[in-house]
Structures are given as structure tokens and as C-alpha cells.
């Protein structure tokens, strides 16, 4: 297949070329997705697969009744723009839902949510 070599070269060149952007997917979080923690966490931290646009990336933490409980100070980390952090007051035992909506620097919007439990 004489055609294979030039096409594979093109494919490799495309992979190695500087990427311009992509969707920001949640890589991991603290408290972890679906986890149970035995002490109220002081904050929620979300690590994404892409750099975030600070002005348009946000996260909320809701309790089991849907009431917002975070300190409304969601911010992208100055030193690592893939990290989004929101502070928490001392949480009572119960289930909490983290909802996030972020804009990666290439303008792709992604959103999602997950739960964690606080027990004593």
C-alpha cells in the first residue's frame, strides 16, 4: 500500500502539531468523586484536563435539599489554570453535590456534577 506512508506521516504530523484546544474534562477531585469523608472538607478542588478560562468557570456545592452551601468564591488557581477551587463552611454530615461548569481556553464549555458524603 504505497498510499499508507504519506498518509501516516500526515497523521503523525497532525498529532504532534501544537494543539489549539479541547474540551475540559474532570480528571479528578477532592473530595473524590463518590467518596465518603470523615471530616468536613474546607474546600472542593477540581482538576481538569485542560486550562480553564477563569472568568467563565465556576463551581457550586449543594446540600441534599438543593441549597447552596459553598462560600461562592470559586476561582481558577493562579499557578495552575487547570484547577478550580471553591471554599466551604463547616459542613454538617450528609450528602453534597458539586456542580461545575467550565470554559476551556479554546471556548469549549463542559459541565458536570458529582456527589460526596460527609460522615462523623
Amino acid at each position: 500500500m504505497r498510499i499508507r506512508i504519506p498518509l501516516l506521516v500526515f497523521a503523525c504530523a497532525s498529532v504532534l502539531a501544537p494543539p489549539l484546544g479541547a474540551h475540559a474534562f474532570l480528571d479528578h477531585a477532592l473530595p473524590a468523586v463518590g467518596s465518603t469523608v470523615h471530616a468536613p472538607p474546607p474546600q472542593v478542588q477540581l482538576w481538569f484536563s485542560q486550562k480553564l478560562e477563569p472568568a467563565f468557570s465556576t463551581a457550586q456545592v449543594l446540600d441534599s435539599t438543593g441549597k447552596r452551601v459553598d462560600r461562592a468564591d470559586a476561582r481558577v488557581d493562579d499557578g495552575d489554570s487547570t484547577v478550580l477551587t471553591v471554599s466551604l463552611p463547616e459542613l454538617a454530615p450528609g450528602r453534597y453535590r458539586v456542580k461545575w461548569r467550565v470554559l476551556s481556553v479554546d471556548t469549549h464549555v463542559t459541565e458536570g456534577d458529582y456527589s460526596f458524603d460527609v460522615v462523623r
Binding site: 500500500m1 498510499i3 499508507r4 498518509l7 501516516l8 500526515f10 497523521a11 497532525s14 498529532v15 502539531a17 494543539p19 489549539l20 484546544g21 479541547a22 474540551h23 474534562f25 474532570l26 480528571d27 479528578h28 477531585a29 473524590a32 468523586v33 463518590g34 467518596s35 484536563s49 485542560q50 478560562e53 472568568a55 467563565f56 470554559l103 481556553v105 479554546d106 471556548t107 469549549h108 464549555v109 463542559t110 459541565e111 458536570g112 456534577d113 458529582y114
Partner: protein, 341 residues
């Protein structure tokens, strides 16, 4: 091509997939200031960029054997497939290898077109190897429904296997086949908490009718005898069951997976073709268990190709694909719809 069990021959359509899928019966293949400005409009419009198969939290990977339910800016380069085909009639057993290129382009947010070409190598036992392009394929698809909360996408489209555009040496048909089809995708992220470990599951699939533009072809044998090859309508159907480890990891439960496993999606595809008329009958196809690794800009997939019956082959083959998300690679140029944002 071979006569089937009823004495007819099946000249089916190219399967509804951009990749090199081998029809076992007829032995032929079936995308910071500027960011802020744009970002502001996106946020204010409260819409989520729905590129390469994203519905709410669900990311549907591009599957290999069954066509996707979404429209996107994508490039599959290459798709490689190899299968060992059994002897049939007067044809020797052979190894069939396909090398395919497929590109999809959004015209608008919900309307897309696609083109595909497959280079084939047929190596019969004891015979001369034949090489050439299979017929070119073109398609158009419209996504008419999306529900992010239900992780559901529905589309309708038409695939055109362009008759006479390929090489007869590798069995390219002289007639076209049009295949109108419906496509669906459904994620199960809305299942209750008690079933949370099933939430990463999703199903995509399609059902269509292959309509050949010629009902039969008459050829002359060495001694001048007429050989009538009939081309039946075919039901093209299939589905893909996929369990998204990224979904599990990001939305359900962090089970400790890290790269590359946290980006893997095990999948089982079933791609089938059923002859409907003109004296033909029976179903052929394959079951393809495999795995997809989905990165930020591209995905890599490998599947086994298991024939569903002896009419579909008798040995396990393989298919592999490197697939690029043009909307992520080139979000401001070729990776965006021609019209609209």
C-alpha cells in the same frame, strides 16, 4: 461475488459506517481576549458546545463498525482492518485488508456531511493479490433531537455508496446504493443512585434500508452463458454497547483509575446486514468487542472482528483506528461549522 444459499447473489450497500467494514457476503467494504469574547457569548447563551458526540455529561466516542448518532468535524486516518475470509464457491479463501480514510464536516451545528475512501488488498490463497480502491462513500446527516439531561441524541441521514467510483478488481460495484437510516445514542446517567454503577453505560445504534440503484446485473460467462446477479434491498442495523470509564471516574465514583485507563471505554459493537428480497435471505455481520482510548484531541480504538455465522466468515479478524477531533485541533478554522458558531 458468491451465490448465496438461494442461488442469488447479494450486492448490498456499504454499511453505514465511515470506516472500512468488510461485508462478509459480498467481500467489499461497508475541531485571550478573543476567547473571553467568544466565551462570554457562550456562557450567556447557556449552551454547551456539542461537538464530537457530547450530550450533557455524556461523551459518545466514535465507534468503528456502527455509525455515530451525532454530527461532528472529525477525521479517521487511518482505519485498518484485516480479516481472513473462507473459500466460497469457486473463490479461494483469502485475506482481505482494508485501509480507509473518512472525514466528517459540519455544515451547521446539526447538519453534517461525510466522505470516505477505502483502499483494499485481496490476497487469495494461491492466487494473485488484487489491489484498488473500493467505491467512494458520501453521506449527509441531520441531528434532529438532543436531550442533555437524558443524554440522548437522535439523527437521520443518508449514506451513498457511489457506484462505479472504485476498482472492479477488488469487487467495487458498478451501481450505487443509497441507505437512509435513523441513528440513536442514549446514555444511562439518569439512573437512580442504587444503580449508579450502570450510569456509565451507553448504547448507540442505527437502523437503515440499503437501496441498490440496480435490481440486478447480467454478465456473460466464458461460454456466453448469462449470469444474473440480483441486488436485494437490505436491512442495515447495528448497535454499540459502551461502558465509559471516564464517566465512571468523573461523575459516579473515583475508583482510582489514572491515565491511560481513566480514558478508556470498553465497547462491544454488533453490525449486521439482512437481505430482504429478490430471492436473497439471511443475515451477515460481525460482533466486535474492543476498547477505545479517548484523549483530548484524538482517540485510538482496537476491536476484534468476530463473524456472527459461517456466512460471515469463520475466523476472527481485527480493526484499528486513529481518529482525530478536528473541532478540538482546529476550533477556529476547519473544526467549526461552516455556518453558525
Amino acid at each position: 461475488m458468491k451465490p448465496d444459499v438461494c442461488g442469488c447473489r447479494i450486492g448490498g450497500s456499504r454499511p453505514l459506517k465511515r470506516r472500512a467494514i468488510i461485508n462478509t457476503k459480498n467481500r467489499r467494504s461497508i475541531a485571550t481576549p478573543l476567547a473571553l469574547a467568544i466565551g462570554s457569548s457562550l456562557i450567556l447563551s447557556a449552551e454547551t458546545a456539542a461537538a464530537h458526540g457530547v450530550a450533557g455529561k455524556r461523551f459518545f466516542p466514535a465507534t468503528l463498525a456502527t455509525d455515530d448518532p451525532f454530527v461532528a468535524d472529525e477525521l479517521s486516518l487511518p482505519t485498518l482492518e484485516s480479516r481472513r475470509m473462507p473459500a466460497s464457491g469457486d473463490e479461494a479463501a483469502m485475506r482481505e485488508t482494508g485501509f480507509a480514510i473518512d472525514v466528517s464536516k459540519r455544515i451547521t451545528e446539526n447538519l453534517g456531511i461525510g466522505f470516505g475512501a477505502t483502499y483494499k488488498v485481496l490476497a487469495p490463497d494461491g492466487g494473485d493479490t488484487q489491489r484498488g480502491f473500493d467505491n467512494l462513500a458520501a453521506s449527509i446527516k441531520y441531528k434532529f433531537y438532543q436531550n442533555d439531561e437524558r443524554e440522548t441524541i437522535l439523527s437521520a441521514g443518508v449514506d451513498w455508496d457511489i457506484g462505479g467510483s472504485g476498482s472492479k478488481r477488488v469487487g467495487a460495484e458498478s451501481f450505487s446504493t443509497l441507505t437512509p437510516a435513523l441513528f440513536f445514542g442514549r446514555g444511562f446517567g439518569d439512573l437512580p443512585e442504587s444503580m449508579k454503577f450502570i450510569r456509565p453505560l451507553a448504547v448507540t445504534g442505527l437502523v437503515g434500508i440499503g437501496i441498490p440503484t440496480r435490481s440486478s446485473t447480467i454478465s456473460r460467462g466464458d461460454e456466453g452463458e448469462a449470469d444474473v446477479e440480483r441486488h436485494p434491498h437490505t436491512l442495515q442495523w447495528g448497535f454499540a454497547v459502551q461502558y465509559s470509564l471516564p464517566y465512571l471516574q468523573s461523575f459516579v465514583q473515583d475508583v482510582g483509575l489514572r491515565e491511560p485507563f481513566s480514558r478508556m471505554i470498553p465497547v462491544v459493537e454488533v453490525a449486521l446486514s439482512t437481505a430482504l428480497d429478490r430471492g436473497a435471505s439471511g443475515t451477515t455481520g460481525t460482533v466486535n468487542p474492543g476498547i477505545v482510548w479517548a484523549g483530548s484531541y484524538a482517540q485510538l480504538a482496537v476491536e476484534a472482528v468476530v463473524p456472527v455465522n459461517n456466512r460471515s466468515g469463520n475466523r476472527v479478524g481485527w480493526i484499528a483506528q486513529l481518529h482525530f477531533f478536528l473541532d478540538d485541533l482546529f476550533p477556529t478554522t476547519i473544526g467549526r461549522p461552516i455556518f453558525g458558531r
